[in-house]
Each structure stands twice: as C-alpha cells, then as structure tokens.
Amino acid sequence: MTRLTLILSGLLVALFVTALLIGPAHISPGPSLRALIMGGEGPMTLVMREIRLPRALLGLLIGGALGLAGAAMQGYLRNPLADPGLIGVSGSAALGAVLAIQTGFATTWSLGLPMAALSGAVLGVCAVLLLAGPRGSSLSLILAGIAISALAGALTALVLNLSPNPFAANEIVFWMMGSLSDRSMTHVWIALPFILLGSALLASLSRGLDALTLGEDAAEAMGIGLRRMRLTLIFGTAAVVGASTAVAGAIGFVGLVVPHLLRPFVGARPGRLLLASTLGGAAMLLAADIVVRAILPDRDLKLGVVTALIGAPLFLHLIYRTRQDAT
C-alpha cells in the first residue's frame, strides 16, 4: 500500500465515522456508536442502523463509484474533462431510473430499477463515445455532454410531468442534483452488487489505460485489446453510475474533481489513479454529505449543489487551460 492509499484510507475512515455521528437528531457520539454496534431496543438503534448507516454506506459506495468512473473515463478518453455527470451518463441513468419507477417496472422486478438505470447509462456512455470520437477532444466531449444531458434531462422532466403523481413533477431536482437523504438499507442492497461488479470491471482497465497514454495505435500494438477495453469501460461505467444514480440521483463533478486533484500524487498514471480516485471520490461524497447536513440539518439540500459549488470553478479552470493549450 502506498502512502497516498494509506492517507486516503485514513481520511475515509474519519469521514465515515463523522458521517455516522452527524444528523438532525441530537444524540451524543458515545451512545450512538454503541447503539450502532451493540444494537438493542430503542429508537437510537433504529436511527443508527436504519437511517445513518445506510446513508454513510451509500456515500462511501457512490462516491467511490463516481470517482472511479471519472478516472476510468478520463483515462480512456485521455481528457480530464470527462465526468459521468458532466457528459450526460448520470443524466441518462436518471432517465432510465425514472422510466422504471414511473412505469412500475421497478416494482415488478427487484433488479428492475438498477437494470433500467444501467441501460440508460449504457446508452449515455455509447452516445458520448460515438459523439466525442476515439480520442475525445475537449470541445466535442463537452458539446456531446451538453446535448446528452439536455436531452436526458428534458425526457426525465417529461416523464415526471406525465406522472399522475403530483409530487413527481417536483422531483426533477432530485434526479438532477442527487441526494442521500432518507435512504434505507434496501437501497444499499440494490446498489451494492452493481457497484462492486462495475468497479471490478473498471479496475481491470488499469494497464490498458496506462498504455493508452501513448495513443490507441501504440497501445493496441503492445497487446492491449481496445475493443474489449471499450466494452469493459461501457459496462463498468454504466453499472457503477447506473446503480448510484438509481438510488441517489445524478451527482455531478465528483468524477471530475477527484481525479484532477489526485493525478499529481500518482505521477499522472491513469492506472494508479483508479484506486486513488475511488478512495478520494468516497471521501469527497461523504464530506459533501456531511456539509449538506451541517449547513441545513432540517432541509434536504441536494448533494449536487455542494459538489457543483466545489466542482464548477475547477471545471471552468480546466476549460480555460484546455483553451490555452490549444492556442
């Protein structure tokens, strides 16, 4: 284990425990952790095990998933602007999830919701890869992202507005900004297998992504199977982003910010960036979810608000730098 891995893991543990201790119900740390671990009768066990634990676990899983997916997509497209949220993959996954929920498909089959979100995400990734070209130039990547996000967002809004449920129409915000509030262990079990499977797929790309530093031709000539890599990337990304979005909505910028911040610490090697970004993404989302609850404990402030406030300035900076490089 490298020093970076150790530091990030330590940070992650601290944030995870903090996430468990923060919440609108004022209960002190000692008894609440005891209730979490030892259990027992009473509302505190219920709060810790059924409300805070799933929330922290989802923060960990989804943050890791988004960090990893961002690092993998960036490595594959060789472009630091690729983020599942920005390029419309999360938006397409949200569309899939909303369709499954509103048509009732999600209730007829226990895997219906994540599978539908995954399918949406697959379409999103394929569209991006198709539009952005093999080596995603920044311009085509951003334009493709805008187009796909806009289309997926509009269709999501349409589906929600067509719903007979009067609340549904207001939920476009949740699907576009994401939130971990009031999730349960059910959601953890929905997302977990897909995130684990997708992460395993993406982790296997490590060597190929390193080789792609030299371009597609050179990588392929060194024995990297690009076709297989592309499929692995599509399904790996779709699985982790789809499952994450299905339970927490589209959370942007994690996959942009984290790889960017950690790249210098792994010698810019895209393969090593995968693990670092997974840990970093989990840390960032847990931190963002702590901030959300610390600032407005009684309101469901959307996670995407916080991640965008951190991420958007960095995104602008990256665009500015890309433009400078081009001239």
Partner: protein, 252 residues
C-alpha cells in the same frame, strides 16, 4: 531467421483499394527504409502488417495473439501522443507492457530494459522530467526509447525522425544501425531520401499502394525511379563515402 513475412498483402477501405500485392520478407540485421510520396501507403502498409487495420493476404505478425505480437514487434506510430504528464522513465516503462502478465509488476529485467533504452537514446538527463514538458524533438526521442524498451526483434517506426534536429536525425539512424548490428531489424518510413540512402541496408519503394522497388539503396534509388515516383530530378551517386543523394528540381 525471418522476422516478417508479407504475402499479397492488401488493404481495401470503403471499397477502394489503398494497398495491394505487397510481398516482403524481412530477416535479421536489416534496416528497411520504406519510402514513397505522401499518400503512397507507407503507414497503411505498416499498420496492415501489424494487423491494426484488417488486411487481405497474409502477414506473419497480424496472425499473432496480441501480446505475442507485442513481443515480436515494437510499433512507433507517427502521431507523437503523450496524453498525461508522466515522467520520462514511467513513459518508457510502458514499452514493457507486452512482457507483463495481468497484475504482474515490472521486475529487474524490465527496469534494465528501460535503462538501456534511456542510455541508447541519450536521455539520462531527462529521466525524471515530465515528458509533456519536453520539446517536440525530445519527446520524439523519448517515444523511440519507449519502443526500444519493448525489446522486440523488429521495430517498425513511422517517420521517427521527422522534426528532429540534424544531429538527432543521424543519431537516431545510427541507433537503428546498432540494433541491426545486434541482429534485430528495423522497418522505418522516411521522407529524407538522403538519410534513407545512407543508413538503410534496403529500401522498399511504395507508390500508389503498390511496391515498385525493393533492394539496396543503390539498386532502387535510380534517377528514373526518383523521377517517376517522387516527381523530382535528383542526383544519385555512389561515392567511396557512401551514397550521395541530391534532389535538384521538381519535374514539370
């Protein structure tokens, strides 16, 4: 020993034949210069021989499994791509990719290969520098070193010396000669016919997707061929010091 065999190799793209009837056998210790005007099909020939684009006919390399091919031939594409700000040694180490099984970490052999490549391309001073911050010529040398670190018996390089200064152009051709002296072979596409004539042991001339000549520089680089293929009037002379090639004018 034969490092590459091409039989009736051809490429058809969108119904158009861009390469056809290529027959070539490359043994050990050769420096094969691949020459021809722009669009003649030099790059296509090399990529088809590698199997990077689906060829018709037979190529001994295209038939290999991907990783085995990576150990049989090192390919240096013309586009000098370095996507991330990695340091020079890390970048060169990527050349060892075909030698590493899934999950295997680079060992002493791999690091030794990297060291040799660095020494050979005169890059010791740049070892820990960030590759993307080097000048274009320096990056070209780093990428050649990457291909050398691959330690394959055959090196295919697409215009590796374009953009290098004169000393490094000649230096690079001499490094190729060193490889040939070790019993390896190099197939290199070039536009500088003077360097090609001086440093290659063999020239293969491509024109309009066909091979029009194959032989020693003196055999192939005749005034007639240079005029017919390149549209240039040139002076070609064998001197005691090697072959002298001097283009004079374009042929109207």
């Amino acid at each position: 020993m034969t490092l590459l065999t091409l039989r009736e190799l051809g490429v058809t793209r969108r119904g158009r034949t861009v390469l056809q009837g290529i027959n070539l056998r490359v043994g050990t210790g050769e420096i094969v210069g691949l020459i021809g005007p722009n669009g003649a099909g030099k790059t296509t020939l090399m990529r088809a021989a590698l199997g990077l684009i689906p060829p018709t006919g037979h190529s001994s390399l295209a038939q290999l499994a991907p990783r085995a091919r990576g150990r049989a031939v090192a390919w240096l594409p013309q586009a000098r791509e370095i996507a991330w700000q990695v340091d020079v040694a890390t970048l060169i180490l990527l050349g060892r990719t075909p030698h590493l099984a899934t999950g295997q970490k680079p060992n002493a052999t791999d690091r030794a290969a990297v060291d040799r490549a660095i020494a050979r391309m005169d890059l010791s001073a740049f070892r820990d520098r960030t590759a993307t911050r080097l000048s274009g010529g320096e990056q070209a040398r780093v990428l050649i070193a990457r291909a050398l670190a691959q330690d394959a018996p055959l090196l295919m390089a697409d215009e590796p010396i374009a953009g290098l200064d004169l000393a490094h152009q000649i230096g690079t051709m001499k490094r190729f000669a060193d490889l040939a002296a070790e019993g390896r072979s190099v197939i290199v596409s070039l536009h500088d016919l003077g360097l090609a004539a001086r440093h290659c042991t063999r020239l293969v001339v491509i024109d309009k997707g066909r091979m029009v000549a194959d032989g020693t520089p003196l055999e192939t680089l005749t005034q007639t061929l240079v005029r017919d293929v390149f549209g240039v009037d040139a002076l070609v002379q064998a001197t005691p010091d090697g072959i002298l090639f001097q283009p004079r004018d374009i042929v109207g």
